[in-house]
Amino acid sequence: MVDAYIAITILWGFVFIYAVMATMDFGAGFWSMIYINRKNTSGTTIANRYLSPTWEVTNTFIVALVVAVYSLFPKGAYTLGTVLLIPGSIILILLTLRSAFLVFSNIADEYRKPLTFVSGICGFLIPGLLMSVLPITHGHYIDTIDGRQTLNLARLFTSPNEYAFFGFAISSTLFLSSLLLADYSKVSHEHHAYRIYRRDALILGPVSMVMALAIMVTLKKEVGWLYSGMMDNVSLLYLSLALFLVGGLALFLPSKKDGRSVIGMPRLAVIAITAQYLVASYVYGRGHLPYLVYPDVTIHSAFTDPNSFRAVFATYIVGFAILFPGFAYFWSLFMHDKKYLRKNNASD
């Protein structure tokens, strides 16, 4: 049954990659809405310059995630598909409106404002709803009547635990994205935008931390099995806290950029915070095992046919080997090309 562990690791990897990319994507949409009226900042331009070429790639990751669920754990897909009909449909509708309007706002310049507004608002709600899938998998909101499973929405939306997850999703989306945009603006020599995003990150970091603690407190009360599972790795939770402090500190360290001294090393902060999320989500995922959806669906009972798994696993290896140069080229064109990053904004 090693295969099931490989499979859940792949799935967890997709969740993590998508979480980071989506954070950037939705956060950037939000910031470009917030700063759209400020003439003297390039906050919106910076956010858009990041967003335009990447949203499509990010979107593909959520599709990859869903495909991974049903090809690795078909029975889990059955249960999740059944109970997530309503929240899933709401997420899909928001996601659709947001992607479409994002594209439209780039093509019809005069209507950029209202369109950016739509995509900004949706981008703010989607992470919260996506994150709500996690408390649903904890099982306490699923009723089984005559063998039919349904989601008890009333119970879900009166639970403090759900709101802790929801709040954490929003605050950490905005936190991580402001950090990344701070880094992106620094590389792009947009000093004004850099200062704004650094300030936002400094405000949102502590907020996210409080939300994370709220999750732990409500978990302890409501989802004992998960809480004790996470506490088995309490030392890693402390490591994650330490990484958070490193990230915060990095925003105050002095650094030099083209002879000018600037406060903060955003690149270091981004790395530290990403590592923090990696560690924390590992602890969460570890504590969640062996359940996919508590208490009926475990990674063993839901696991796909072994022949299928081997075939799918082979395509993962071949697929990513082929795609890797593509990702590298993409990165070098949009994240690394100084000319692109610093391009004159006249054409935006």
Binding site: S52, P53, T54, E56, V57, N59, T60, V63, V66, V67, Y70, S71, F73, P74, A77, Y78, G81, T82, L84, L85, G88, S89, L92, I93, L95, T96, L97, S99, A100, F101, L102, V103, F104, N106, I107, A108, D109, Y111, R148, Q149, T150, T304, D305, N307, S308, A311, V312, T315, G319, I322, L323, G326, F327, Y329, F330, F334, D337, K339, Y340, S347
Partner: protein
Amino acid sequence: MSDLVIARSLFGTTMGFHIIHATIGVGLPLMILAAELLYQKTKDIEWVVMAKRWTKAFAVLLGVGIPTGTIAGMQLSLLWPGFMEVIGRVMALPFQIEIYAFFVEALFMSIYVYAAERIKPWMRIASLVLVALGGLASAVLITNVHAFQGTPAGFEIVNGEIVNVNPWEAFFNPSFFVTATHVAVSAYVVGAFVVAMVAAYKMLRAEHGSRIYRFHQKALTLSLVIGGIFSLLTAVNGHESAQMLHKYQPEKLAGAEGLFETQSYAPLAIGGVTDRESQSVKYGIEIPWALSFLAGNRFDTVVKGLNEWPESEWPPLFIHTLFNGMVFIGTFLILVAAVGIFWKRFLKKDKYPKWLLWLYVASGPLAILGIEFGWIFACTGRQPWNIYRMLSTAESVTTQTNLGPIFISFIIVYIILAAAAIFVLLHFFKKNPVHKDLDRATGGNGQLFSSNT
């Protein structure tokens, strides 16, 4: 409506909407590529302008195609969890490989659009080829799942358990190649005739002989050549698809032709409506022996009629009309393309008559209607099965109830999207007429692709 009917309607609506953008998303890159290659050959800047304008339209369509595809992918799990459980165990490969195709398309599309001005011409063409291949691969792979639903292979169900799974055998199920080819070539038909539609409309509005007229005439000629070739291929391959049905899903063919009695020398019914009471096609034209010939290349081929099966296993009878519609459109497109090419190449006239231009304007919507007919025929004709003779549609539907409000919400979203997409396209091209793009291109600052306004 029962929840099953709502689920079917909802999924069918999603697919019917996605397919419009997705098919153009497969077909248009080929047109763009042809224009880019013609530019490399002739160094005529008008081809680049064409490529740029089609790319902009493509980008807007992607803005709808990608999210609606995402809806389609997730609705499969949300509405048909029983189906996806089987697919997950047996037929995950195409979905999995499709992800890589999506990545290729997404990465290189962004590169082609947002970095067009910064990369070398050969790299631009290479990116475009990868975009086109990515789109083609998505279509072929998703069609493979559909093919599997019609001709399942690579597993057995023993006592309700799925056993003896062979994922590659499922992947290369018997109808994969025929069906995938049909979808691919018909997508190129759609891409070409959508371009023809716009070009012909603009020619009707422009003064004959003007620069603008000639510009659109070039686009029209290109699309007629490509569209003509691919509609011919579609018809040839459609014939093979029908033979595939004869072999593997005979009740679908019988439904398509309105044939009730099993017979050799079976007649082909064109038009008309299938009537359950009199067990015949009313008001249609019958061509004696033709159906037997189509099904097996011999007049004495025995074609099975619907009466071979209990009525509960019949596909809905209206699929006869859908099938006729598709074949009629296929024939029409071959003819109009041939007339146009004949007119230009052999009669050497450079002005098309008005009626012909109006036919070209109609060809775009008709081509799209063709794929809608084809798909609804293929999916509805499979009823009552979701996976042919393995899993019924009723068994695979979600156990949730009250799907009505969800159905209505999605319809509203599709209406908003369609309206917004049309509005944005019209707005963009009104503000950036061809002559502006031509000036920009000849102006020499080279920033054609990133000129967004």
